[in-house]
Structures are given as C-alpha cells and as structure tokens.
Amino acid sequence: MNGKLKLATVWLDGCSGCHMSFLDIDERLLDVAALADLVYSPLVDAKEFPEMVDIALIEGAVSSEDDYHKIRHVRAHTRILVSLGDCAVTANVPAMRNRFKVEEVLDRAYFENATLNQQIPVEVIPPLRKQSIPVHQVVAVDVFVPGCPPSADIIFYAVTELLAGRTPDLRTRTHFGA
C-alpha cells in the first residue's frame, strides 16, 4: 500500500457529462492523483470493482436491473458514496420516462422512431426497471453533489475535501440544474 486512498467513479444512467466535468478538472487531476488512486472507473481499465474503495463518485440514475445490482454491489464495497450530478441526485432527465410504461418507452425508441431494424433488443442491453430513481432511493448516500453537470471546480472541491477527510459543505455552492 502506498498510503493513498482508493477512488472509484461509476457510470449508471447518465449522459457521461459528469465524467466529462470530472476530467475538466484538467491539470488539477495531478493533485487528486497525488492523494488517491483511481482504482475503478469508465476512464480506466479495471473491470472488477475492488474489495473496498474509500470514495466512489456515482454518475447517473438507477434505471436498469444492471444499475440496480451494480449500485448495491458498489455500496457494499465503498466507504463514502457520492451522488455526483443531478441524475444521481434527482434522477433528472432519465426520470422523465417515468410517466410512461416501460413498454411504451421501448416502443417509442425501437419502433416508432426507428426506420430500420425495428425490434426491441433483448441481449446485452439490460432490462429497464419500472422507474428511473435517484441513487439514494436505493442505497444510502453520504454526499450529494447536485448540478448538471457540477462544475469542474465543485467536483475538485468536493473530491479534495473528501480526500482530506472532511465532509464538503456543498449546500450553497451548487444547486439542481446548475
């Protein structure tokens, strides 16, 4: 062990914008890297979630069965779980489908709006759950970072505070839709 904390990022049902914003930390990523190892993320190669990570940033709402099982697994192996961005915090745009039945949503996507190959995929694509919901409706969340996406500065502030062992006070620094 190099004494660094373990950091993970997880991508559920979101547009990846929060991950982009995370990368927008730019050269300050080096400061983060000095304090923590990125052990699991869509941005790195690791395929398995490690036995225990210290901080996990979650982007996206819980929409599919896959998301559901993943977030439960992640929660069980994470000390501090962070809902990063509006999709994780409020379910945001993914939740706009909640007013419709799953079948209606799929029909819309794969039949009505498809010109070729009209069929609902059954392989590889995980089945949708009845509703897209925020992460904290499924598992306990320790820190919330709203924003769509949260700015790079906010993310940097939140991550460095957490790495320093403090709970970041984000309440008046960012808001839904920011």
Binding site: V141, C148, F176
Partner: protein, 241 residues
Amino acid sequence: MKRPFKTRVRTLKIDGIDVGAREDETILELAQENGIFIPTLCHLEGVHDIGACRLCLVEIKGTSKLLPACMTYAEEGMEVITDSERLTAYRRQVLDLLFSERNHVCAVCVSNGHCELQWLAEKLGISHVGVPYLYPQLPVDASHSFYTLDHNRCVLCARCVRVCDEIEGAHTWDVTGRGVECRVISDLNQPWGTADSCTRCGKCVQVCPTGALFSKGKAVAEMTKRREFLPYLQQMREGRR
C-alpha cells in the same frame, strides 16, 4: 371604560432585534424592512396573501403554533424567531415536498438559473430530495399564441390566479380539483389559447416563480421574469380610488 385612543404603533422583537411597527404591518414586511431574510414562495407583493406555501412560518414566543409571517400582524411585545433549526428543517421539508410533487427537471427548464424554487433550494441548502418523487402525468398547454403553461413545473402558489383577478381583473385563472389533484385552469378548463377572458397581458407569466408559465420561444435557462410593474400598478390603482 373605552380607551380614548387607538394604539397604532407596536414595538416587538424579531430575532432579538427591537422593531417598531405600524399595527397593519406583517412580520414579513417588518423582517424585510430590517434586513432579516424569511423565505417565501406564494407571497407576492401587490396581491393578497394566502399563507399556503408555509415557507415563511415563524416561531412566536408564548405559542407552540408556527405562524405564517406573511399573514401575521405585529403585536405589542411579540417576540418573533424567524430562523431556528426546527424552522429550517420544516422549510427544507416543504421544498422537498414541492420538488417531489411534480416533474421539476431543473436541468432542462426554461427558468433554470432564474427560478425561485431552485434558488430557495440552494439558499436553504437542499442537496437532495428526501421523499420519493411522485412523477405525475401532466400536460403542457401551448395553445396560447404568446405563452406556454407547463403543469409539470407548477407549485400551485396561485400567484397567477391572484394577479389575474386582483390586478388585471380578468380572473382567467383559477384552481380546479382538490388535494394533490389540484391544477391551475383557464376559463372552463379549456386550452389557454381559447380562453376568451384572457387579455394576453402576461402578468401571470411574469409573476410565476418557476418555469410553469413562460414566453414562447424561450429555450433552457432563457426565461427571466420581471415584476417591478406590480407594486407600481397596485399603487396607481389605489391612488385612483
């Protein structure tokens, strides 16, 4: 024996500060005069108050009941507390309930960045909503030639109803149904564009705290509202009487 004079001036304490008041002043007005912040949503200067949003509830010494600052009048010797842990918790819960009630997707709202609900959430430190969202099925009425009504973003503050009735005098808007089924309606629950009573003055749009009423052609975050006209209109009307 009848008192030979009528008390017109009151002295009271708001958050420990001594405040002089006329008897027709509300706690909210006094707080604002003295630079004390009390969150409000349904309150709108220029129309009558209804005490519906419950954000401006304050504690008053000697009573266990919380009272709405917008509708509670100054009384001699009153001791008002406008901010406490308890009040903040309740105010946050009120916002929680409002966010959960309809489909407020701030990220894709015309009023993003200019919304009173969003602003209050930030001001009161809402980092997430503690109750499950209700996700109701709600329509958008774009039948009006100038404006759009999006029920998904309505908080039922009834500002539009009051401004239309009390300032414009058209009473195009009202509320139908009850409980969580309440909806703002125009005329006989018909498309706004077909409501004959509407004068297209747009006051309702300007006073709407959220993106529920907005001008056509505005995209995400583009809708800003101006309501300086309201106290002016009210003054001018009173002056004429």
